[in-house]
Amino acid sequence: MKKKKLKLPKCAPYSKAHERYLRKRRNDKIFVLFFQIIILVAFVGLWELLAQTRIIDPFFVSSPSRIFNMLSSLIESGTIWRHIGITLLETLCGFAIATLGGTLIAIILWWSEKLRRILEPYIVVLNSLPKIALGPIIILWVGSGMSAIIVMCVLICIVMTTITMLNAFNSCDFDKIQLMKSMRAKKIQIFWKLVLPSAMDEFISVLKINVGLAWVGTIMGEYLSSSAGLGYLIVYGSQIFRIDLVMTSTVILCVLAAVMYLLVSLLEKWHKR
């Protein structure tokens, strides 16, 4: 079989050894990607096979073909877009409010060390509290529906955001701060020109974690009180024993979360450029 020639940039003088190294790197990448696809295909194929041969009961575990059919009918009827839109809106609102709000609180706590020390035990308690316990109170305070779901989503993400960003601000190199002070920098300048840019890697990490947590918050909120959205579809599907609907909604959630994560990863790439 003819060996495929490796494409190399024209400018660099590559040796044979370097060419071999580049080929190995490319082959490694292909190997990993191949097995990633194989696992997915094998999982879906095996699931379908077991469901078709009735080794597992599709009534309880559905099957890829039933999920596909359900998705097609939901797209045909057009109802799915409304549910996706509502869940996406709630998640994005919660994600944005929690990320910006948590960072703002972290900035205030970094600015005032005394305030941080006063509030520290409350933040620790809030962080360890299972936020779902606050569900009924949230509904009582802000009413049921979208606002309660966004509040739930914000509550789940904001404490973690505050703690992570505060740690990032506080771990800024002390000598660099001294350097800025020796140049007569004001506190606000130290923050904008040093502390905040130094914490950008942690901010990207917060965004990545919040992508996951925001979806958890939204779906938890929709479980508690909603009349539309993917979480509502999951609850509704389980109540009427339509496991296909539950699985289809879950698959859509997976895709949406992956897309959101991908966007944050692109942001990270741009930041590291």
Partner: protein, 258 residues
């Protein structure tokens, strides 16, 4: 030469949970204009604290530090440039943005002149082609030169060097030592170097201040007149070895006391 810096009976105490620590005791010394002074002493004796006091980052407990005829405080920050153990370049900024950082922090009437001076320094010290690069693309020696230029752009009268070569490997260290020394001399600056390295102190300085262990006092001041244009050449002076032994013994005595 006129005296640029004078320490008059300077004491410094700091508080810990357990006790009050007397770090510096009745320090008296002077540094003349254009002089290169080095401070050596046992670990933890308070060498860096001295630089922080001069830079006004810490207040003296008693006594006074006079810089250019004025008591050290917030007003004479502009006369001081500080270089730390590591270059502390901001990785997210280009070399040019790093060099002009100090100019962004204050309103300077002659900002244009200072920017032109920054450009001139970049050209003079072979960094002009790198102004749009990020610090990670530069070698250790180049990074240290950038850090020095960042300090020089503000045209300070006195440079404080807090072990600026300690993070470099030995060979780079010798070369960067020469570079930094040449820049400081050609820009006509007064400098105070704090270091653990006796050879480095001897090869670079006109004056060597030896401190005792804590509470630090001035144990000995040695005026150095070694032959050689550069620190590397000064190491070849026949007196270098005996001076090294002399300082080594003084420091070893202090170590034994502690």
């Amino acid at each position: 030469m006129d005296t640029l810096l004078r320490f008059d009976n300077v004491n410094f105490f700091y508080q810990t949970k357990k006790e009050e620590v007397h770090a510096l005791q009745d320090l008296n010394f002077t540094v003349d204009e254009l002089e290169f002074a080095s401070i050596v002493g046992p670990s933890g004796c308070g060498k860096t604290t001295i630089l922080s006091l001069i830079a006004g980052l810490l207040p003296v407990s008693s006594g006074s530090i006079i810089l250019g005829g004025e008591k050290v405080g917030k007003n004479n920050h502009q006369q001081i440039g500080y270089m730390f153990q590591r270059d502390h370049l901001f990785e997210w900024r280009t070399i040019w943005k790093n060099i002009t950082l100090g100019l962004e922090l204050q309103k300077y009437e002659n900002k244009e002149e200072k920017l032109a001076f920054a450009k001139e320094l970049l050209q003079k010290y072979d960094l002009y082609g790198f102004q749009n690069r990020k610090p990670r693309e530069l070698s250790g020696g180049m990074r240290q030169r950038v850090a020095l230029i960042r300090t020089l752009v503000l045209e300070p009268k006195l440079l404080l060097l807090d072990e600026p070569f300690s993070a470099l490997d030995f060979q780079t260290r010798l070369n960067v030592c020469d570079d930094v020394y040449e820049i400081i001399k050609s820009e006509k600056k007064t400098a105070i170097l704090v270091t653990h390295d006796i050879s480095e102190a001897l090869s670079m300085s006109d004056k060597l201040i030896i401190l005792s262990s804590r509470p630090a006092t001035v144990k000995h001041i040695e005026m150095l007149k070694l032959n050689g244009e550069t620190p590397l050449l000064r190491r070849e002076d026949p007196r270098f070895g005996s001076l090294f032994d002399f300082v080594w013994k003084k420091l070893t005595n202090e170590k034994e006391k502690t």
